[in-house]
Symmetry: C2
Subunit: 334 residues, 2 copies
């Protein structure tokens, strides 16, 4: 049996391209002591994947010749003497390949509440990122205005819906009128603004007539710069990602910011990683599942078939062509 | 009796100059209902004074022809039927003049713990700003590295000493070798760096070999930009003031900042005003007085005599020629 894998074949120059990857038939993995062998079912496609290729983040930069990294849901097919039985469903980081040997300490056992895809989406890292970023870092109060960028994306749409559930006025920023109609018509955002519009500045101000209390930033760049100007006294910015800076050669791409305003308006700007809140994940999953069950949280998914689709799925995600969580189905369910 | 006053005679162009002010003999103030008449004893000279002239901050911009604004300690000389007896010592904002009519609601009764000057310094807004900014916003833990700019200034020297009292490694940034010797030799900072040195970048890195956990920013500008790069994972920046941006025409003067780093390093950047913590001021004063009494907190004061000295006192402060809290003695003590 071969193990289909997708490797990074060269360091991207400028924007990522599908031919920065190579599709190969690799060997079946050999588990070390403490590893299990996993068969990949679902692969998560995330903006962070591109950041990992660009330079050191909270992990080492990915290198040429490596299997491309990514979060996955897999089935244990060889427990290799560990406590994880064959057939267990696990979340981890198998990367872009059909089979992987992974240490059990790096895996979370998944007990799906609904469809397995939700475990990579609203009930997985994506939804938990929205939940803790908005509620624990942004801490919005009912009646406040919450602004979120990449609002039709995997994290952004959940952030907006959670803010609405918590009684906030919700304004989304997305890159097409089609996405914005979805946000206001189907997800009940109060307003949505297209950052590609020539009158973006005016439209954003009009959508936030009282200013912004919490801005949930998924993009960085000029959208962040403009949003900073709209912050009210006591305003907060949640830094979740900076996708505007990922898909190119200049990973540092700074924005301009005014320290005097930090004092005068008592602003708080804070970055976070969802792993900081691991002890509260179970309770958050229960809460999110409740909102799905009672209809207040709609799940948006964009599932693509087959491992070979992964490169174009990521290239397209970085261009903003997804709505909701993009997932590649690599193998059949258990 | 005339009331000597110093007015803003023209809007400063570029750097503040002493002849942007006019010295006049004004009328004695006429108290309205609810006002008391106050005689100024001490006038606080603060970088924020310059920011108030530059544009709108948390208050309206000061205008030409107005009495220059400033924090003061005064004696009530006419209680005008209010509950504040003649002879009461009050902290408030009489501005740059000998006498002022002020609403009692804008005044705090002062019960001096030590010398009255301390009530504008470590036991007044200056010390409370250091206390709450460092401890409530920065929240340093013992063993962490605390970096503070304008470290020989009124707020900065207290921040550094409070950080040392709380078991932190303390690094100061100041603008002369003389100030830096004072910080290390007399205030027991662990290191001090001169931001005017040609090798400032290297010296700052060497002074913070493990990076920075809390940076207390009094200056903004390029010192802030460089300090941001040294922040460790979980690092915090306390925004207290941005004096590098105050003394000129470009009040917004932005700095460059990297949103991706906010996420990867889970940084928190937060501005504050000491008035946000008013309910805790009394407890803080007691704590600070205790550290003065046991010798762990040294009080640095720079008292100038006579109201007429105020313009040059502020111009000089903005050029960094003070050590510790600059105060103008306007009138005799009670």
């Amino acid at each position: 049996v071969a193990n289909r894998q997708i490797l990074i074949s060269r360091r991207p120059s400028g924007r990522l391209a599908a031919d920065d990857f190579a599709h190969v038939a690799g060997p079946m993995p050999e588990p070390a002591v403490g590893d299990v062998v996993c068969r990949t079912i679902l692969l998560s496609i995330d903006p962070a994947n591109r950041a990992w290729m660009q330079g050191r983040t909270y992990r080492d930069q990915l290198g040429t010749g490596e299997v491309m990294a990514g979060f996955t849901i897999s089935e244990v097919i060889d427990s290799n003497g560990t406590a994880l039985p064959t057939g267990t469903l696990v979340a981890g980081e198998a990367g872009w390949q059909e089979y992987a040997a992974l240490p059990t300490s790096s895996l979370h056992v998944v007990e799906p509440i609904g469809p397995v895809t939700h475990e990579l989406n609203v009930l997985g890292i994506t939804g938990l990122t929205a939940y803790f970023g908005l509620l624990a870092v942004g801490r919005p109060r009912a009646g406040e205005t919450v602004l979120v960028s990449a609002a039709a994306g995997a994290t952004g749409n959940v952030v907006g819906q959670l803010a609405r559930i918590h009684g906030c006025r919700v304004v989304g920023i997305a890159g097409s009128d089609h996405k914005n109609s979805l946000l206001t018509d189907e997800l009940e955002f109060d307003a949505a603004v297209n950052h590609r519009s020539e009158r973006f500045d005016d439209e954003l101000r009009r959508a936030c007539p009282d200013g912004v209390d919490v801005y949930f930033d998924n993009v960085g760049g000029s959208v962040l710069e403009r949003s900073l100007r709209l912050l009210r006294e006591g305003g907060r910015v949640v830094f979740c990602g900076a996708v505007a800076h990922y898909d190119g050669d200049d990973r540092t791409g700074g924005i301009t910011f005014h320290p005097g305003r930090m004092v005068v308006r008592r602003l708080r700007l804070e970055g976070f990683l969802v792993s900081d809140f691991m002890s509260e994940w179970a309770a958050a999953r229960t809460a999110i599942a409740g909102w799905i069950a009672d209809g207040s949280l709609r799940v948006l998914e964009d599932v693509v078939d087959g491992l070979d689709a992964a490169p174009n799925a990521l290239v397209g995600l970085l261009a903003g062509d997804n709505v909701g969580k993009r997932i590649v189905r690599v193998g059949r369910d258990r």
